[in-house]
Symmetry: none
């Protein structure tokens, strides 16, 4: 019954259309907000950028805050899908999994550098519910790294006194590529950045006896 309803061609077309619209608006809003900051972006300008009328935005997002929240969540979602995939693709070795996860994180950050900064800049504009949502998503995002660390500890490869902290540090160092890009870009490429940060952290947590095994990850 529900199934039939969902197959109703009119409804399906409508919802597909809605999906497309929503994505189109989100994309336009993200583009502008990343560039200028949400406060400097008017609903008029979002409408213009998307090539629609102001009123239409309010059909899809109840308010400017809703729109901002949706933009930020969109960014975090894109993080949440790519990092785990990279970790899985890296095989069973916890060290390699951690390395792959961190690298993937850095890559995603690099691709949406401005969007990543948005999270830091604009969260204050959200209401408590929105902020809570963002925080929750961010913690989720770091889970693959935490899992790899945990696996490493259990396998006796890592010595990590505070798992939560170490995982969050990795996340932070990935974010830093966006946050302090103006500083790092002077001397580092993304690859070098990821490589060196990883080496630094690994030296801090690898059991000494395994250092040789992962020597290639520890050099710059």
């Amino acid at each position: 019954m529900t199934f039939a309803a969902e197959l109703d061609p009119a409804d399906a077309a409508r919802s597909a259309r809605a999906e497309r619209r929503s994505a189109q608006l989100l994309e336009a809003a993200a583009r502008l907000m990343e560039r200028d900051g949400s406060h400097a972006v008017s609903m008029q300008s979002v409408a213009a950028e998307a090539g629609v009328s102001v009123g239409l935005i309010y059909r899809y997002f109840g308010s400017k805050d809703d729109l901002l929240l949706a933009v930020i969540i969109g960014v975090l979602d894109s993080f949440a899908t790519r990092v785990p995939a990279a970790v899985e693709a890296a095989g069973d070795d916890p060290v390699h999994r951690l390395a792959a996860g961190f690298r993937a994180y850095c890559e995603v950050i690099d691709e949406r550098r401005h969007a990543a900064v948005l999270t830091y800049r604009e969260t204050k504009s959200l209401d408590e519910a929105g902020r809570a949502r963002i925080k929750e998503l961010e913690v989720q995002t770091s889970e693959p790294l935490r899992a790899a660390l945990r696996a490493g500890v259990e396998a006796g490869v890592f010595d990590v006194p505070d798992l939560e902290l170490a995982a969050y540090d990795l996340l932070l160092l990935a974010h830093a590529w966006a946050l302090k890009h103006w500083y790092f870009e002077r001397t580092l490429s993304l690859d070098t950045y990821a490589q060196r940060q990883l080496a630094l952290v690994l030296k801090g947590i690898l059991e000494p006896k395994h250092r040789r095994r992962y020597a290639d990850l520890l050099t710059n």
Copy 2:
């Protein structure tokens, strides 16, 4: 002429008065902006908070952006004075100097947690000149850490392939206490936070042969 003017007691009184006024306004603005974000703070509300008229603010700061810039610079300045002092007080040992610097940084951040976040949130609102100024100050702020690292390397205690990176990482981890306070406060006190972060970084950069000597800094 200028010299005479500066010694003129009337002028001196005037400039002292101006200094006090400026500080009073800055303090009021900082309080509000840290709490609500600069966009949510009106010049009239700053005036009210400081107990003066709107017009007066414009005697001391040319525009709202000027005021914001001054607030942020004020924050960074307070960082810039305390960290070097702590480093000096720590003696000659580069490791202890680094540790002292990082700890001091964390403490200052903790004292002005919201102000620290301000830097991340509001810099976008500034014009290019303002942003450049902020960046410059931030780099300066990290200089004591960089110096300690350099000294350690020269003394053969540290193995730091990328000095700039390591120094900035320490600065970042100090900032993180403010940026991700909602996360870390669940499990860590400021002292533990600083201690563990320091341990992690030191393990990553200490020459293995010196590990034992600084064992107390490496434990949690």
Copy 3:
């Protein structure tokens, strides 16, 4: 041709359908406008209340003003049918006819209290033609009362120097049950209200020699 067309069963069905639709929309609009005032009611909310689409409303009413006019006329029409009926049912005595008419008017007002107020509140929003229509209907509505007064004067029971005025006063006092309901409801029921108002007016217009005959109408 027209005649044939009206007998065409398809046309008949269509117009019956249209009638029902129209009534359905009118009812929904009335409900909302009485409660919130026409300005606070959007066409989309009327559509939602009626369970149809916005577009459909425009098939039946050319504009929001048209809809409002139709709502008000609907209210006045319902007044215009019930009062004469009550008067007729009251027999031949002019005093009883007047009493019955006034009571009926009060009852109708009571049943659609908010609708009655609508007339006072919203007429200004109409164009001149609409307002003229409303006024005309209101005057019509008072006609049964005026007729009863006239008959009473001719029969020598009433002494009414200004018939128009007295008739309109009765209409106003009936309206007042709606307009000042917040005041009268504290101390009066509808029945008592109608009874006392009638007594007051009758004492003002009954020839003294007939007072005794209608004593029951003059007491409270």
Copy 4:
């Protein structure tokens, strides 16, 4: 001390200026709202009518609703001052006091006919607090009439079973000159209107034995 403060010339000048501004804005708003209805009047148009900027209105009235409330209260206040004065000026005779009060009420209504209608039309737009305020003021306004009736009853001149009702009826009949002006103006002048309404009501409440004494009030 307080006295001295109130005599401070700067403060006095300021508050006088504010008073004038407030009156100016109120007047402009009243003019437009009476003519077009509050919903049809934009803050822009009020500003233009008053010859000031939009922003200034918000210095004196927090919102459009505040402004509307102030306009209505202004109208009711002008009623509340003139009617009691007229009653007092009429001497001791309760009948003459009542007559004077009613006439004064009608005159005030006549002078601000559109404003009087405003009360009926726009009260719905107010919040509950505003509506309560209006109702309270209206009841106050009718108090002089109620008092005269009461005095008449005590003096044995009036026979009024329901004092509240009769007083409110008089108030209503005065309002009716504004509400149904389009109808009454065809046949009546204000004087005749007041005279006839008064005659009608007096015939309804005067003890028969006093009819002759006030014969001039009972004729048209």
